[in-house]
């Protein structure tokens, strides 16, 4: 019965040396993925929307639909 003596020290250090680089890489990858799948398309969508946006036209359309209380549709 001569089993080898098990490792008694440095267990936390070994675990950290293994897991911390993985954790950092995965977090970085998640951040980069979120940036390029969510925030960049969103910024582009807003830019495109406001490129062709006519505020007066939109306002008049909303007015005719009758949602405002201060300005009634032009017919009334």
């Amino acid at each position: 019965m001569s089993l080898p003596k098990p490792v008694m020290r440095g267990l936390l250090g070994k675990r950290l040396r293994f897991h911390l680089p993985i954790a950092f890489t995965l977090s970085l990858a998640a951040a980069i993925a979120f940036k390029y799948t969510v925030t960049e398309p969103r910024k582009q969508a807003y830019a495109d929307f406001y490129k062709q946006y006519d505020a007066t036209k939109e306002f008049n359309a909303m007015r005719e639909a009758g949602i405002f209380e201060s300005v009634r549709p032009s017919g009334e």
Partner: protein, 169 residues
């Protein structure tokens, strides 16, 4: 020879009666729960007492042999000594069981039962839903949301085609 025997008898009696000499109160009874107990726990490896309290004759002789050099102990004797002191080895106490299947099954069963309870409540306890939930009211609600241009960039109104008055393909 006889005198020493008589003396040992007297001294034994003296010890056993010394308790009663203390005003007749004696010592408090020691409850079972106040004594040290044996336990198998991974985080607490050395219990307060040995597992086997009353040794058999061969165990007593083994304990005597343990007082000598340990090289002379065979493997079986070492294991026997271990089993005197401990009930389960670490491998035995750490092994998993199949209990999780019962637990998971029970959890799912009671969630299902809760679903039935909720259905019964919906039918027999709660009153009717407000009138604004019928189709005509909901259609008016949606039209008003489109008129107000709710979320026109990426959300609700962005998916509506205002020119052709239909949802964008």
């Amino acid at each position: 020879m006889l005198a020493s025997r008589a003396l040992s008898l007297v001294s034994k009696r003296a010890i056993s009666t010394s308790v009663c000499l203390r005003g007749g109160h004696g010592v408090a009874k020691v409850e079972d729960y106040a004594l040290p107990v044996y336990f198998d726990r991974r985080e607490n490896p050395l219990p307060d007492i040995n597992y086997v309290q009353t040794l058999s004759p061969e165990q007593i002789s083994l304990k005597e042999k343990e007082k000598g050099s340990w090289i002379s102990l065979s493997n079986e004797e070492k294991i026997a000594l271990y089993r005197i002191s401990f009930k389960q080895s670490f491998a035995e106490m750490n092994q998993g069981s199949a209990e999780w299947k019962s637990v998971f099954g029970g959890v799912l069963f009671f969630i299902g039962f809760t679903g039935l309870v909720v259905l019964w409540q919906r039918k027999y306890v709660y009153g009717p839903v407000p009138p604004t939930f019928d189709d005509e009211h909901k259609a008016k609600e949606l039209q008003r949301m489109l008129d107000m241009r709710i979320n026109p960039v990426e959300g609700f109104s962005a998916k509506w085609d205002y020119e052709n008055k239909q949802w964008k393909k």
